[in-house]
Symmetry: C2
Subunit: 160 residues, 2 copies
DNA sequence: GAAGGAATTTAGCTTAGCCTAACAATATGT
DNA sequence: ACATATTGTTAGGCTAAGCTAAATTCCTTC
């Protein structure tokens, strides 16, 4: 493993996204997206170049190496999974959780991520349930949309 | 607000827990729990004392001030909510998520935390659903325990 | 093809948070 | 009560990641 810091992982992610759109990334764009001064980007790029994750030469545009891309995609996968869970399952606006996802993506344990993905997939396949968060005052997952009951049918059945 | 770093918040939490058990905390205990050398604790304590969050005097035991306690309780509340969600809702062993919870607790947006709490409460009240995670191979939330179906009854009904 | 402006890098500084080593204070056992 | 072990503090150093200011390179436009 490369054992990157959260910050360097973020740079990788940023470069990947810019390079996807434009073919290559310029330090200025990276700095803007990362909310950092251009001088700080130079340092990060050197660090990443040492680890052979970016192709960097002074005054030239930046691209990711194969390994760099692989790692960036992995981080992006986590980022999107988290975003999917927060927006689709928990129904929280994207802008309220974007930053949080950016932090979690570096440390979330695989098992937690898997659960989140499964959950999001389920809600996707099961729109009836997924809708609850959008309607219910208390957001109980199994409360059918538009009904007054607090527990799902199966649970009510069990209580009788 | 005190605007504490994640590290200082963790110290506060650690001190709170030790002080709850023993009445006061000694630097050594704090260092051990925080996985840090005692010399590092001294620095943190001075910083926290400056902010009037701990009562600190050299070579004396450490306690929290009123404000310190208040903040510590708030962090602990988040920590426990996260732990509850991960263990009871996602059914992941405590030791696999303890560290992660310690990181998230400092940055989790209120709305996300609220959702997690609601979710955990629901699973608590709705054991039938909660049990799914313990049994299902894929962990679909609405898959009744022991059954083969992938979607909950309501959703299957809707598809017909 | 030179001048001006924008982008980039360099150099050097700052802060937080840790470390080690040496020293100081306290606690303990006989 | 005093020697020794434990605990706590100080001093100084390190690293990561940012910053500013100044120098450099590149790009554009006459």
């Amino acid at each position: 493993m490369s054992n990157l810091s959260a910050s360097l992982e973020d740079y990788l992610e940023t470069i990947y996204e810019i390079a996807e759109r434009k073919g290559a990334a310029r330090p200025k764009d990276i700095a803007d997206k990362h909310r950092v001064k251009p001088a700080s980007v130079t340092g990060a790029l050197k660090h990443l170049a040492e680890k052979k994750l970016v192709n960097y030469a002074p005054y030239d545009v930046v691209t990711l190496t194969g390994t760099g891309k692989k790692i960036a995609r992995e981080i992006l996968r986590k980022h999107n999974a988290l975003l999917g869970f927060f927006t689709n399952v928990l129904d929280i606006p994207r802008e309220d959780v974007e930053e949080f996802a950016c932090e979690m993506e570096h440390t979330i344990p695989d098992r937690v991520l898997e659960r989140f993905v499964e959950f999001a997939e389920f809600v996707d396949k099961c729109p009836h349930r997924g809708a609850i968060w959008r309607e219910g005052a208390h957001g109980y997952f199994c409360k059918p949309a538009g009904s007054e009951q607090t527990l799902c049918k199966d649970c009510q059945l069990e209580k009788q």
